[in-house]
Amino acid sequence: MIRFDSVSKRYPNGYEALRGINLHIRRGEMVFITGHSGAGKSTLLRLIPLLERPSNGQVLVAGLNLVRLRRGLIPQLRRRIGMIFQDYRLLHDRTVYDNVALPLVIAGVSPLEIGRRVRAALDKVGLLDRERVYPVTLSGGEQQRVGIARAEVSRPPILVADEPTGNLDPALSWEIMQLFRDFQRVGVTVVIASHDIGLIERLGQRVITLERGRLVDDIPAEAA
């Protein structure tokens, strides 16, 4: 589903965020990317939806060669990837419903279908009764669940989450991770950057460790 072939990323200021990364993530896998801050976790994640372009090497996502992808096709790529952020990135002047509906509006889904799918997504994250409220009235955990509902509502084959539990307490973090597990079980490829080693170990999934831009460890998932 996602393949990195000797990928390097050097920023214009000369900083080398990634060096010679080789990585293959299969369809339906759940993978954690871990490492100290500055190890290149975020950069690696940002290459997947083409928020950055690699300096060297090839990135293939859902059959698309990102190095050769034209600018005009980037929206098509991003519609196949649900993105979740540490700071949620919700629109504060719109209701929970409108936030979750946004990807479907962008994709031109009919209003009737939007209503059905938004409610299904909100039901999945347990916020069906909050669709009319504004994000500021929600707790951090609830806002992140809105973020997940928004990433998932268009049923993308890939979910990418950058420190999704970075601002949440352990109990809430565990709940959020269970949501990601559920998506993985129905065949979604899930890639999560996190430095919460304790939480990651308890989940028993594949863990990739980065250190100063190099891939130093790749522990496969425990046989379930």
Partner: protein, 319 residues
């Protein structure tokens, strides 16, 4: 990809068309909604556009009215043919009769030297001075009215032809001042067009700047839309419609300004016309004028927003 699109069943095509229409409808209504949510700021911008559009529209209307009035006067153009003083009375009477038959001439009126002297005596109050003259120094004059519908060039050609008559001494075209007036009106019209072009640029810049600020204030939202796979067209659309709405509102305000100005000017203008013995009808913008004004507003608004959108949206990329 192309073959896949070609093999799509019609229902799929219709769905795509529906999505397209609803996306535009959403952008159209959404843009109006945003203007409505900041009524004062929107109204101020629209007012600036209204004034900028009303000025050239008002001037052009004024000129149209002026031309309407002078067009009536042109029909009154007359030629005075002064004959040589040695032309005998039966000759100039015969000449008057001949000219009367000319297809280019509507009427030829003869003023004999005696009549001219009588008139001069009556109006000038120079009876004593005129009494000293032992003979009448005045020539016979033929007042020639060109055929109906003759334009200034035709009148000038007629003047030339009359001047070539052996008995004619001098032909005076009373229309000369009208031609000068026409030149002045034409000059004013060109000047108005130049000013209109400059104000049009001002409208584009005002809308462009307003849209630029709208883009800045929604930067975060636009970044998120790009993250979620929004195309450039999707992001551009609401701003383009916003520009159109500004232009349309500006056009409507300009319309109100022009019509109000007309209402204020109609009374005095009619009074002035009445004093010249003519029933002047101040002409308004009319359906065509209204359509042109609103269309100009929309087109300029769209141009302004295109300018802003093209320059600023590319700079917004997710970080």
């Amino acid at each position: 990809m192309a073959e896949v699109a070609a093999r799509r069943p019609p229902s799929r095509l219709r769905r795509a068309a529906n999505a397209y229409v609803s996306a535009h409808g959403r952008a159209l209504v959404g843009a109006l909604g945003r203007l409505y949510r900041t009524p004062l700021a929107s109204l101020m911008t629209a007012a600036v556009l209204g004034v900028a559009l009303a000025l050239p529209a008002g001037f052009l209307l004024l000129l149209a009215n002026l031309q309407g009035v002078t067009a009536g006067w042109e029909a009154d153009a007359r030629l005075s043919v002064f004959l040589k003083t040695d032309v005998a009375p039966d000759r100039y009477r015969a000449l008057a009769a001949t000219l009367e038959q000319d297809p280019d001439i509507a009427a030829a009126t003869l003023i004999t030297p005696e009549q001219a002297l009588e008139e001069l005596r009556a109006v000038s109050g120079m009876q004593d001075a005129l009494a000293l003259l032992d003979s009448n120094p005045l020539p016979a004059v033929l007042l020639v009215q060109p055929a109906a519908g003759a334009d200034p060039e035709a009148a000038a050609a007629l003047a030339e032809r009359l001047e070539a008559l052996p008995d004619a001494d001098l032909v005076q075209l009373d229309q000369a001042w009208l031609q000068r007036l026409a030149s002045v009106v034409e000059l004013a019209r060109r000047g108005t067009l130049v000013i209109a072009a400059m104000l049009g640029i001002a409208v584009i810049l005002v809308v462009g700047n307003t849209i630029r600020m709208a883009i800045e204030s929604r930067r975060e939202e636009l970044v998120i839309i790009k993250l979620l796979g929004g195309t450039d067209a999707f992001i551009r659309r609401p701003f383009l419609y916003e520009g159109c709405w500004y232009g349309l509102l500006g056009g409507v305000l300009a319309l109100l300004l022009v019509e109000t100005a007309l209402l204020l000017l109609r009374g005095p203008a009619t009074a002035l016309a009445a004093s010249y013995g003519s029933a002047l009808l101040v002409q308004g913008l009319g359906m065509d004028g209204v359509a042109w004004l609103l269309a100009a507003g929309v087109v300029l608004g769209l141009a302004g927003s295109r300018l802003a959108v093209g320059r600023h949206l590319r700079a917004i990329e997710p970080r």
